[in-house]
């Protein structure tokens, strides 16, 4: 796949044609990591560990560097198994709350998830808890039509926590398998909006203790270091359990997820590679890391 190939293609280019790891290779590696938005801190940490190996083993050739890098990156990306839409849901209804800053792709990702769950034979219900942004409910309604999945909604401006509450109750009444709740985009530095999110979560818990079973933080793959702040504040407000990285069909490399996965121990589960409902990939770190380096072979 396109994104996987270009994710770290520069890393591979940095090592291609070199036999030993010298200062120049490390500089190129630094550039490749930083320009993928991995960030200085994580980049320096990776390079330090490689330098230590060079010092210890005296000699490190580029194929060894390659495998060390793969190990390092796999270690940073937490979580083992990749997502499976067909596997049994652990709770019924299984409630997924979708959160993130403005315009990252929350509503679109919900449309894609609805499509995938339905295709896997699950019944799905959407909850339109973004009652704030202009035409947000209309947008989700179009996704409900496209995927042929029902939606619970109220008038614009109504209390999002009440919509979430209604949605979950309705899911119980209908015997729905999976509930997907859309929320308004909000910047993580706005305390009152983050509190509103916590309130939405609590109102879901009033119906089903232990829900939401998944809090999915959607990150725009072209975001730079600010994504770390997003992860930090959304986690504080809602205990984020999984990440979806969108817009990786562009040229951005989404490297900031390495830093996030490493620092916050939250697994990446989905990747968005387009605007259509089919444009969702399940994240598999082994496949992902292998494909990052495979073009080099």
């Amino acid at each position: 796949q396109k994104t996987k190939e270009n994710f770290f293609s520069k890393v591979s280019k940095a090592i291609a044609g070199k036999s030993t790891v010298d200062e120049e290779v490390l500089d190129d590696l630094e550039e490749a990591l930083v320009t993928a938005d991995v960030g200085i801190e994580t980049t320096v940490a990776i390079i330090d560990r490689i330098e230590q190996r060079v010092v210890r083993d005296k000699y490190l050739n580029t194929s060894e560097l390659n495998s060390i890098l793969q190990e390092e990156i796999k270690e940073m990306l937490v979580g083992e198994a990749s997502y499976d839409f067909t596997s049994d849901i652990p709770h019924k209804p299984y409630v997924i709350l979708v959160v993130g800053v403005n315009g990252v792709g929350k509503t679109t990702t919900i449309g894609k998830l609805a499509y995938n769950f339905k295709k896997a034979g699950k019944s799905v219900l959407l909850g339109a808890a973004d009652t704030f942004r202009a035409a947000a409910v209309d947008q989700l309604t179009i996704w409900s039509d496209r995927t042929g999945v029902p939606i619970v909604k109220q008038a614009m401006g109504s209390d999002p926590a009440a919509v979430a509450f209604d949605t979950v109750q309705s899911a119980i009444a209908r015997g729905t398998d999976v509930v997907l709740i859309d929320t308004a985009g909000r910047l993580h530095n706005k305390a009152h909006l983050m509190e509103e999110l916590s309130k939405i979560k609590r109102s879901v818990q009033k119906v089903i203790p232990g829900a939401p079973h998944e809090v999915l933080l959607v990150l725009d793959g072209s975001t730079g270091q600010n994504a770390l702040e997003q992860a930090k504040h959304f986690t504080a407000a809602t205990d984020v359990t999984a990440l979806a990285i969108t817009k990786l069909d562009g040229t951005a490399k989404g490297g900031v997820v390495l830093a996030i996965a490493n620092q916050f121990k939250i697994p990446v589960k989905f990747i968005g590679v387009g605007e259509k409902m089919e444009d969702l990939l399940i994240f598999d770190k082994h496949e992902f890391v292998d494909s990052i380096f495979s073009i080099n072979k």
Partner: protein, 306 residues
């Protein structure tokens, strides 16, 4: 948040207090710290390198007055250079014409539709113009409805053709409509598109050619990372845009993409967008942006006092 540049430089210069001159020897670590600070602020890696080379040349041999520390002097040099690169003074905005046509373009979710509403509101309230908003995004679910709602909120008419799937035609028809209604400015909201999407880039270029806009504004999310340079360059290659709009500055991003974009395409940043409400539009101040990128308070006054 990340350490500010002043904090970083203070530690880089820790052992150098009392040195009267910035020299080749003591500047190396500092330059590295400046580069890291810039990259942490999302300034493009290559640009940060070139930038620090320039700063180094400027700083070498500078006398350090006893009143301020070498790190304060470096911070001032860095900041002045940033302000200079981002455009010393505010750029003007051309809304004259019969009608003036303004084309809005950018990546998905960057804030184009919201900005279109804000600009219409600004031109109506501040410039006493009579704008027409045009919904030329025929792809995103409910995009037209979104613009219609925004227009309603600010009392600005929105041109819609719900059944038409051809944005070039919609734009042309809208301008005719504007003329007949004596609207003096037309703001065309377009669909979000990726720079590598050939068909979509051709489409927006076709809209441009059909309506000959006075202003083409490239709308970019201020949280964008290293890829900002590629996107800005690709849009500029196709559209030769007249200005940049930075959005979502009400967040806590350092916004280094602003520098990268200006550096790459050398187009002025004309507006900043800092909120979801339609009155949160501002002109761009290079000085404030420089301070933001460097993560500092008002260091200028501090240095000037010294």
């Amino acid at each position: 948040m990340f350490e500010s540049l002043s904090d970083r430089l203070d530690s880089a210069f820790k052992n150098l207090k009392g040195e009267g001159r910035i020299t080749d020897l003591n500047i190396a670590a500092t330059v590295k710290e400046i580069r890291r600070a810039l990259v942490d602020a999302d300034v493009n890696y290559k640009i940060a390198k070139e930038f620090t080379d320039t700063v180094k040349d400027k700083a070498l041999g500078e006398k350090v007055l006893t009143a301020i520390s070498p790190s304060q002097l470096m911070v001032k040099i860095v900041k002045d250079e940033l302000v200079h690169l981002m455009g010393d003074d505010a750029a003007d905005f051309n809304a004259k014409g019969a009608p003036a046509v303004i084309l809005i373009a950018g990546l998905q979710g960057s804030g184009k539709t919201t900005f279109s509403g804000k600009l219409a509101n600004y031109l109506k309230k501040q410039k006493k113009l009579s704008p027409l908003l045009v919904a030329a995004d025929v792809y995103r679910p409910a995009a037209m409805e979104q613009l219609r709602v925004l227009g309603e909120q600010i009392g600005v008419e929105v041109y819609l053709e719900l059944e038409n799937k051809n944005p070039v035609e919609i734009a042309q028809n809208a301008i005719r409509d504007a003329r007949s209604k004596n609207k003096n400015v037309v703001i065309i909201d377009t669909a979000g598109r990726l720079a590598i999407d050939e068909a979509m880039m051709t489409e927006v270029a076709n809209i441009k050619n059909a309506v000959n806009p006075q202003e083409i504004l490239f709308v970019v999310d201020s949280m964008t990372g290293q890829d900002a340079v590629n996107t800005a360059k690709a849009f500029n290659d196709r559209l030769d845009f007249s200005g940049v709009v930075l959005t979502k500055l009400d967040g806590d991003t350092r916004g280094g993409a602003a520098l990268s974009i200006k550096y790459t395409v050398n187009k002025p940043i004309k507006f900043i967008s800092s909120g979801e409400k339609l009155d949160t539009l501002d002109v761009f101040y290079p000085e404030r942006m420089a301070q933001r990128i460097l993560g500092m308070g008002d260091i200028t006054t501090l240095v000037e006092k010294a």
